[in-house]
């Protein structure tokens, strides 16, 4: 999926004080790219990711996904975009505690129902778990998994509905460096194998550099873009 933004701007109001989170961001990301957005906290990188992921809406500016402009006022179209084309990976994994690993992976397919039958969904979820190397932990509850395993399940879940764009918000933030590296390797591998675009927010510039394109952001503006 190609991603393009034009003059993307986001203000917050903290009481009477205007906070500028994004200040005219122009961005162009090609199909199948692995983009890392780096910057200190408060730089606006998470806001950018949330807006691209249709979880938040911009104050001004336009976002084009695969060339089509996103209409942030149309709630229904945002739901469809999230459901069919986007996949999320969070810093805190956000697995559903009541469901085991394979059910967590199946969960997004549930909202995309007409697609498959229950058994097909389970089969696909098992395949995705195998892809992240966790097929043996399929029936474990999140409370029985380690941090690295949780994030692998979360990544498998992000792939559940066959998204064209994966948005990862500090996916290694809660992991030790060794586990974090294995997660990044997994994302890189999936990026190569599945050919979908990945946008990752991180503050680990060193590892970001190894992944692909790095976008530095500061005070809501893009500082530089390195390939």
């Amino acid at each position: 999926m190609t991603v393009e933004t034009k003059g993307l701007t986001k203000y917050y109001w903290m009481g009477k004080e205007k906070v500028v989170a994004l200040d005219g961001v122009d961005l162009k990301i090609e199909e199948g790219e692995f983009i890392s957005i780096v910057g200190p906290s408060g730089s606006g990188k998470s806001t950018l990711l949330n807006i691209l992921g249709c979880l938040d809406s911009p104050t001004k500016g336009k976002v084009f996904l695969d060339g089509a402009q996103v209409d942030y006022r149309n709630k229904r179209s945002l739901v469809i975009l999230r459901r069919k084309f986007l996949g999320f990976v969070f810093q805190t994994f956000n697995l559903i505690p009541a469901l085991n690993a394979v059910e967590n992976v199946e969960y997004p397919m549930y909202f995309n129902k007409p697609l498959k039958s229950k058994s097909e969904r389970k089969e696909k979820a098992m395949k995705l778990l195998a892809l992240v190397g966790l097929e043996k932990r399929a029936n474990h509850l999140p409370s029985e998994l380690s941090g690295g395993e949780l994030q692998r399940v979360a990544i498998a879940r992000a792939f559940a509905n066959g998204p064209k764009l994966i948005l990862a918000d500090e996916p290694t933030g809660n992991l030790d460096s060794v586990t974090g590296r294995s997660i990044l390797d997994l994302l890189t591998r999936l990026n190569n194998e599945e050919k979908m675009t990945i946008i990752m927010v991180t503050h680990d510039f060193e590892s970001a550099k190894r992944m692909g394109t790095v976008i530095r952001i500061l005070d809501g503006r893009i500082q530089e873009q390195e390939r």
């Binding site: 979880l55 229904r76 739901v79 999230r82 956000n94 559903i96 009541a98 909202f111 509905n161």
Partner: protein
């Protein structure tokens, strides 16, 4: 759909104690309503049974009709019309007069036909005979009701075979009322009938009508071959302008009263359901707070507002089903308890005949419809109570929800 409920069940299983407490709360409310309704229904059934046992369900009582100032009298031609109706076995007209003895004792006199005695089978002779209308004599033959006979024996020293003079006051359409004298002879005395007949004096209808010079009857009993046709016969009688009543009227009255009483009691016992409903609202709101992140996540993963709402309502529905089943079971238990504990109390308080009649049967009656309504109440209650929390969950912004810790 199935999965929605599986998922909801999964969520509920994680907070078993909380769910059990709400379910119990709803169930107790439902059980209270069922218990009270079953008691009302039980007493209603008993009362109706009692009426059926003590009333002749195949008799229609006809009196003169009065509608918009027009009085329709029971004349010979009306009787003929009624006799020709289908399902009518026979009719028994009667007249009512009052005689006064020389010592100024008033006698309530009823002029009756033999058919009248056929309908009121409790009119049995203790002494003497019934009047013989075929033999014409210079005195009027009368049969005394049990209480009248006793009174006359004490105050006027009269018994079977005695004759005495009596007067009847006639109110003509014109002129002043005039008195008409006759000589009456007591030919028989009745056993106690246990009703208003004990205070009446009976005369052959022909003689009675000669005396009072009326050209219409005061009342008419219509015997129908089967209780099922009473209503249709009644309608026919009312069509010709007369007033008709049957034991069914009394039964209808009791039914109306008991249904009203039961509804009022059920309504007030239903207040406990409000408590159950508030518990559901409270628990589901807490659940929304606890699962805010999960809701945000679900939205990020593609859930629509409706999906979220359905997930919460499915949990409420499961709670409602469990509350309904448990409420029905507890309700049955309640009514068994009312029967065990409440019945002896009611019987001793009411005492007498009414108490004795309650002793025989059960004072509560659980019908499938009571249970169905109890179940439905639980279902509707939990869904309605879940609407607000579910809507609240559905409306959360995914980003805000995800940020919440």
């Amino acid at each position: 759909m199935m999965e929605l409920f599986l998922l909801a069940g999964r969520q509920l299983r994680r907070k078993k104690l909380r769910v059990f407490l709400i379910v119990l709360g709803i169930a107790i409310g439902v059980a209270a309503v069922i218990g009270v309704t079953a008691l009302g229904e039980g007493i209603r059934v008993q009362a109706v049974e009692q009426i059926k046992a003590s009333h002749d369900l195949t008799t229609v009582e006809v009196s003169a009709g009065a509608e918009a100032g027009n009085v329709t009298l029971i004349t010979e031609s009306k009787i003929k019309a009624i006799k020709q109706e289908e399902n009518v076995l026979f009719v028994a007209p009667y007249v009512k007069d009052s005689y006064v003895t020389q010592n100024n004792t008033y006698l309530a006199v009823k002029g009756v036909t033999p058919e009248y005695r056929g309908i009121h089978s409790n009119l049995q002779l203790e002494q003497g005979n019934w009047f013989d209308e075929s033999t014409h004599s210079n005195y009027t033959q009368i049969v005394l009701g049990y209480d009248v006979a006793k009174r006359l024996a004490v105050t006027e020293d009269l018994g079977v075979g005695d004759e005495f003079g009596a007067k009847i006051r006639l109110y003509g359409e014109e002129g002043p009322p005039r008195d008409k004298s006759t000589v009456v002879k007591i030919v028989g005395i009745l056993e106690s009938a246990g009703d208003e007949h004990d205070n009446q004096v009976f005369v052959g209808i022909t003689e009675a009508m000669e005396m009072d010079e009326k050209d219409a009857y005061d009342g008419l009993l219509v015997k129908v071959d089967d209780p099922a046709f009473v209503a249709s016969v009644r309608e026919k009688i009312e069509e010709i302008g007369l007033n008709a009543q049957s034991a069914q009227d009394v039964i209808d009255e009791v039914n109306r009263l008991m249904v009203a009483v039961t509804l009022v009691l059920g309504f007030f016992s239903g207040i406990s359901l409000v408590v159950g409903a508030l518990m559901v609202v409270n628990t589901m709101i807490i659940s929304v707070y606890e699962r805010t992140r999960e809701i945000g996540l679900s939205k990020a993963l593609g859930a629509s507002d409706l999906d979220i709402m359905k997930m919460f309502l499915a949990e409420c529905l499961i709670i409602g089903v469990m509350g309904g089943i448990l409420g029905d079971l507890l309700g049955i238990g309640f009514s068994v308890m009312i029967d065990l504990v409440g019945k002896p109390f009611l019987v001793s308080t009411l005492g007498g005949e009414l108490g004795a009649s309650l002793q025989a049967g059960s004072i509560t009656a659980i019908t499938p419809s009571i249970l169905a309504v109890g179940f439905a109440i639980s279902l509707v209650l939990s869904i309605v109570s879940g609407l607000y929390p579910a809507r609240r969950a559905a409306r959360l912004s995914p980003l805000d929800a995800l940020r919440q810790i």
